[in-house]
Symmetry: D2
Subunit: 344 residues, 4 copies
């Protein structure tokens, strides 16, 4: 069936797969000590444009969040996240499993507001009994967010200023970073984003790879003995090449950014179809996830033709769904969606 | 350089890679709910020959050990392992990270002896203060062991009998299972091995896959809500197909076993070369890892030609090394090794 | 200085202390295996009036919460609590330290509402991706709450019904249980409260003891090998007698309930003084904690005479404080408070 | 029954209890912020004689070990201990529960030998794959050991030198410190012991208190936000006075040392009785625990008169037991033991 279910419904982007095939028989040492992993790290550092940046690869997103958060937080600290953040809801308690609390803030369109963040920190330190509470040690945001929305450079800078004021690390989950940075609505380059945080990751799984995320520590601040901590969390791949080769390909000839742009372009066309159909959108998303609202009756029919994700109930008779696009979305997919929309 | 460093120096076996390429553009749902993962599970169940067996895939070995052990142990229990077991030494404390103790037993050629195991259990329950100690709740063994050795059917049965007597789960780490089962020294079939334990895993990473291990719960005893527990540990791949497709290939036309046999055959030839050279072996391994002992001077020279793993110091002037073979070992590799041995 | 700072400002109630002194030189075996601990358990069982109830002692409240919650939750589960609950805010992440998430619900006067709870559970199981989320496995409430308020029998019953419908354990934190049960506003006996939950604890620290809480598993549902799990969490006192003797005294001649009544009576008089002074109360608390609202200027003066706890900012010029009473509150304390109130 | 079962069979030393009674009704603030806790810290600092020493109180021994070890270790580190150490055997996996491995070394009379320790560290860092293993980050020893034996100043200094060479913290478990320091066999003062380690604790529970241990960070190296980390582990007593007052008493007029000496003197007389009876000792202990070896038949008879702890099987017909003395051992107890020994 034609699927807009997620941005991880296909395998690897053909250019990525090609590199896996080409290098398949080479003898390479394990655990990320191979030359392709080295090369991928160099390419990413160059793309990021920060000399002291350090790059490390991890297989999946939840794992990356758990590893980064638990190795960077101090014992007495927790991580602030939007109540709709991935670590707050959809990681089955993976952060708490590492012994750290997720401190949830209200969100607007999936984003934390600087004002709410400052209010939280101020109130925390003003509280006489705050030594009995989890200290806010990190702020976790996603770019783009779960709702496809983007922080502006100004918003990000305000948040980072608060982080520095209160001694908190700023961590950006970039599971869909390529779609975020290449959005027409983005006012940030990769270099700028990297400069306005302490650590972020460049998502591979949802942007062309079979698996793999590239964590970038932007201030030479990679935790000591990081490899051992990664191993301790069961997150060290024996064949580190699997992720290294893929990121080497993704950062060759701007493939990562081309994928981002392509996915966004497809999403814009989905958005236009929805507008043409007269559908309201749950949110105005400028990236590869679109959230049209359907009457429940329509959905039942749509389901027969198209795979998608049910997002949230809007009212008793309406439901928002998610259509996700990616490098693997084809003209045929769009045509099928258009036909299906016409018929519901 | 020619490498006998490990059995994970190459990518995927060509037949495995072919399937990844063929299925790459198909739209499949995530998290292991795709048809290839389903098919792979069925093929494995058939190969194992146990109706109520349940199969689950996890990306890597340490992760598999941590997930299986921590979801099957009770709060008050720890896992017994040989002091040379992988979880005892080379997983950076990954089991302890889940809050459980590894209870170490002495080993003989990498194996736990039934007598020592029984002695441990007897002494534990005879101790008046055992309620203040970690209860032995599981026995972890590897087949083959870290030293390439194998438990006989009799040895395994004795261990399993003790496990059942003392209410312990028997877990077999099969990271190199293919090489074990296909060894001429093995007196066990896959079905028999599966019948003489509660849970085991079929290693993919070291037997032809890019990544991935197949956990088999042999008694319908998969922990409840296993997917959620896997997710909580950061071990759930979004593109579950990556492992599913590979195992589907590995269990098509007996590929998994052909790889095991091939790796062993190559190892036998390595062993013969060592014998011809007059080298002593640290241990008589009947599987794909061989442990010849060299004079330290020889090693320095050998290093220039061949990559291998330094295993352990034998005495002040001698060191044991490991030569590992696999599906990727070639005639050229063997020839190069033979030449190199001649020259040292 | 005269103090209404908390209900743990004094040592032990004189009748409790007397028993500690009387039994001090007796030779007793350790870890709660002594006769006084046995006797205390029996007395509590009798007071609770449930044959299959099991009683265990732990030194402190946060520890009790962490032990009970982490031994009763399944791996994939978290605990639901009011966003103002003690485990949500003032335990420094102690529940998360055990690897479990606290799932927060909005509160009204410190209480969870049955409607909100049912809504949460319904939405959880209706969510297609709930297997990627923490399952609600327990509901944690306090009786009385952090704000001194009480659940009615009807409210509690509704909550318990939902718990049973959704397979969740109901755990009642009774750190101040004595004050709750003896409140004129309470419509529940100890036996009834015990019958409408799966596990609760009878707070000692705030109700006359130097330390110690009595956990009651009301359905014969004490986790297996509980002593070992307690030990593993560092929560097993060598001299278990310390808590055993104290609870034996507290449950002799209704001392526990007498303390509760006395503390409440003192609180009623504090409330009357506040009313006479024309102070608004943050909440209408029927137990031993009272929350009058002062102008900030008044507070500065009050501070010179009386110790209390600053509770929360009400608006820019007003602040709510907490006056706590207990068995140790004296007539002189009340007189001093009355004088101080007159002067501010 | 007359009991030599342990050194925690009685309540508090009368001088300690007296102080609890005298201060019982005073209003004191919670969580260790009271004046008696302050005073106790000052007295201990003075006794230790190190200006930058920092003192913190925790309720019990296992808890103290878990808190100190888990707050001082880095993520990638484990703690080295003798295979007979308390944390290795009798804490039900409490250290592993914090996510850290206990790295066990062979022991001689309960002690780690410097040579073995150095060998371990050397081998660890010489191992090419040590980044895949738990780093040794701390050495844990007991003074006296589980067997009542003592490290000499020279032995301790050698161990500490190795610790500094390899960047490891030296932590001394002083659950029975008073008996150790006051032994005629001790060649160390409290000040010297404190100077030859990074952190140690002064045991209260087994040396006169109802509960409580005093942790001393000797180098101004108390972990940041220690109170919060203690709270997070459920180890913060609301009525901190309970431990503060007791240690204030223990360090008044040398009570702690008088108790140590008295317990040892009683043990010497027990030892003499055993010698007179012709019993072999499992070990030559110079402190308050004695380990005579009995024929199994004798034990059955002895059990009827005297309570003691069965320690370990020596051979098929002999068993070592433990007789522990303390401040609570009386002349009558000794007489009863002598009579009982005569009759078996």
């Amino acid at each position: 069936m034609i699927s807009f279910e997620s941005d991880y419904i296909a395998g690897a982007h053909p250019e990525v797969l090609k590199r896996l095939v080409e290098t398949n028989l080479e003898s390479l040492s394990g655990y990320g000590s191979d030359k392709y992993t080295e090369s991928a790290k160099e390419r990413i550092k160059r793309a990021v444009g920060i000399e002291e940046a350090q790059v490390e690869f991890i297989a999946g997103g939840t794992q990356t969040n758990a590893v980064v958060i638990s190795t960077m937080l101090k014992d007495w600290e927790g991580v602030i996240a939007a109540e709709t953040g991935h670590i707050s809801v959809h990681e089955a308690g993976a952060i708490e499993y590492t012994g750290h609390e997720v401190l949830m803030l209200p969100q607007t369109e999936g984003k934390i507001e600087a004002k709410a963040l400052r209010g939280y920190c101020k109130a925390f330190y003003a509280d006489d009994s705050h030594e009995h509470m989890t200290f806010p040690g990190m702020v976790y945001i996603s770019y783009p967010t779960e709702y496809g929305t983007l922080y502006s450079k100004k918003e990000l800078t305000e948040i980072y200023d608060i982080c520095r004021e209160y001694g908190m690390t700023l961590f950006i989950d970039g599971a869909r970073l390529g779609y975020g940075l290449m959005s027409p609505a983005a006012d940030l380059s990769l270099h700028e984003l990297a400069s306005i945080c302490d650590v972020f990751y460049i998502g591979g799984t949802k942007v062309g790879a079979l698996c793999g995320e590239a964590v970038v520590f932007t201030k030479g601040n990679r935790p000591a003995h990081f490899l051992t901590s990664v191993k301790k969390r069961g997150a060290l791949l024996a064949k580190g090449r699997l992720v290294g080769v893929q990121f080497d390909a993704l950062f060759t000839d701007d493939l990562y950014f081309r994928i981002g742009k392509y996915g966004n372009d497809m999403a814009e066309r989905v958005k236009a179809m929805c507008a043409a159909k007269g559908l309201r959108m749950l949110m105005d998303s400028p990236t590869n996830q679109q959230f049209p609202i359907f009457e429940n009756g329509q959905l039942e029919k749509l389901k027969e033709k198209i795979a998608f994700t049910v997002w949230q109930k809007v009212d008793d008779t309406h439901t928002a769904v998610r259509f996700a696009t990616s490098w693997s979305t084809t003209e045929d997919d769009l045509q099928a969606l258009e036909n299906a929309l016409r018929e519901v």
